[in-house]
Amino acid sequence: MSGTFVGMPAFPSAAREALQDDQLRRNLANATGVIRTKRAEVVDEVDNWEELRVAGAAIKDEVLLHLDEYLIELEASLTAAGAAVHWARDADEACQIVGDIAADHEVDEVVKVKSMATQEIGLNERLAQRGISAWETDLAELIVQLGDDLPSHILVPAIHRNRDEIRDIFVESMASAGKPAPDGLTNDPAALANASRLHLREKFMRAKMAVSGANFAVADTGTLVVVESEGNGRMCLTLPEVLVSVVGIEKIVPSWEDLDVFLQTLPRSSTGERMNPYTSTWSGVNDADGPQEVHVVLLDNGRTRALADEVGRQALRCIRCSACLNACPVYERTGGKAYGSVYPGPIGAILNPLMKGVGVDEQTDSLPYASSLCGACYDVCPVAIDIPSVLVELRTQVVDSHRGGAPDAFGAAMAGAAVSFGSPLPWKTVVLATGWAGRLSGPLAGRVRSSALKNVPGAAGAWAGARDIPALPKESFRAWMKRTGGQE
């Protein structure tokens, strides 16, 4: 069973550790580089890409603005189509609901379609506590699950693994979970895919209940939509008798036509494909075919908290394409686990604090700072979430949540900056002092040079660990202006 993220260290130390894993860095740089290039190619060929981005953002904003009404509409249309609708305030309630449905049907195993919402609530672990095995059927999720590992990417959770590692995981762990790996399994991608196919087929044929998420929930028709690449989702959604879908309340789109926008932007942004191989849609129960009992669990778990945040609510537009992860230079170097959540990368750095609230734990508070604010995420986001601005807003909230107590080193430095920059005189004095320091020579100069950075304890070391401090000029710009009047 895969582990959980509880108790992860704050981002800087988790990142430092991840950076030491050369294999991880190579795998990540390679994988994100390939996906980035593919995405850029298929996005460039769409003439109206900017229009699609704006349209996607507008559709989601409309839903978020009237979420109360759309949720009721969705509940009504789902119910009319024969689905049972459940409401879950948090992870506990959602896991309880899914577990109870499994218990009602006396099943001890379920097959799963890849779903972020069920990972977010830790469903597999909670079902295991009730003696129910939840089998992941997406190839990458299977690798994570069999390797007793944590996911590190939204779309390709095993992005940190290479072929050799995957072969070893299959050989070691498939037998204990079901059909063993074929004898003499090599690291050939086709052979690995076939091994997983054989292993999973057995589970598809046997399972009585499936659990999924949904990429979209269409309010007016009561249709859920799952977009995937491998066909495992289609198996889960059609073969078992009972289907339970855990759906975040922000997944709504008003009408069937709105899918037009997202089914263009999602595959291009996520896998760099013009269209994804499998798009499954279902509205409740159909007598002739498919699951005969359909449940939908509508999940809040912090989403209404995010919705209440005026700047941050745009994060709920997210369609989990993971383009921002692949574009992020920080993610590329640290991998997803350093973010301590199933939502890593730039979107994770804003979504986690928005859903959990800031000022509660150090790990969450460190996430808005896990960015150089380079803006690459905003550029690629298909629903135009201005992640850098939300990061800055959340940093403000983190700082505000700690105001009142004794200021930390950064707080003291920033209070000092407020005075230095608030009127010309103090700043002139600072610059003057820098000029004096620049004219010193010998060992004293070095000491005075770094004294500027020593205002923030630790900062001098953090800067100077890998970088030289620039030599100070003998005369500041303003002193030169004063002396020469700007004439050389």
Binding site: A15, S420, R467, D468
Partner: protein, 241 residues
């Protein structure tokens, strides 16, 4: 607007801007009352602490036709963040003052290309140079090709393309110290790319990023110098000889 970092640490950049603009016939003033745009505070989450700097900014630069700065990052801060700071402060008149001043802030290459309408500024620089587009100039301001247009018109320059140029160098203000391990890992890739070009100079439009990249290059003795765009554009044949 010379910027606080250039004022204290990189006066040659300020002098170069002055020389360049004067050569192009612009009447340039240096309002002594200027301090800092406030970005270090805003980007670290200390918005209240940025209010005095933003207030001072609006006072220092009130009444000018154009406020030109050799920093994409500080221009971005003035154009995009000052409004937020003023709104949050609730201070009477500050939001209006910001609305008056901030649209007239230009990053140097924007001012040259868009306002003055020049790409050939009559510069000469007989060296092998590679250009790093800093993130805020590239993505926040969208300066695009402007710096390259200006550089291509420089006499005798050997301008070589930087691989993966649009990748962040890892500076990111306080990110460089708060997450120094990641910051320097990003910086390492950047300086490796720079080294692969064989350039003598790495040029950019922000000295803050250059301070980080240059600090790493100097520590590793790569032999590549950093230089601000303004300093290349201000160089002429006479000076080069």
């Amino acid at each position: 607007m010379v910027t606080c970092i250039n004022d204290a640490f990189f006066p040659e950049t300020g002098k170069a801007v002055l020389r360049l603009l004067q050569r192009l016939g612009v009447a340039v003033d240096f309002p002594e009352a200027q301090t800092c745009c406030g970005q270090p505070m805003v980007n670290t989450g200390y918005i209240d602490e940025a209010v005095p700097a933003v207030r001072q900014f609006t006072k220092a630069f009130a009444g000018y036709d154009a406020i030109v700065t050799p920093s994409g990052s500080c221009a971005g801060s003035a154009r995009h963040q000052h409004k937020l700071v003023a709104e949050r402060s609730g201070e009477v008149g500050l939001a209006d003052a910001v609305a008056e001043v901030s649209p007239r802030v230009y990053e140097l290459s924007e001012f040259l290309v868009d306002v003055l309408g020049v790409t050939d500024v009559g510069a000469a620089f007989p060296h092998k140079v590679t250009y790093h587009p800093t993130c805020h100039s590239l993505r926040m301001l969208g300066v695009g090709e402007r710096p390259l247009q200006l550089l291509r018109a420089v006499r005798d320059i050997d301008l070589v393309e930087l691989p993966a140029a649009d990748q962040c160098c890892g500076f990111g203000g306080t990110f460089a110290v708060k997450n120094s391990a990641v910051s320097t890992a990003m910086g390492q890739d950047k300086i490796d790319h720079v080294a692969s070009t064989g350039a003598e100079y790495l040029v950019a439009g922000d000295n803050s990023c250059l301070m980080h990249i240059g600090g790493m290059m100097s520590r590793q003795s790569t032999g590549v110098q950093t230089i601000h765009l303004a300093q290349i554009l201000a160089s002429t044949k006479v000076m080069a000889q």
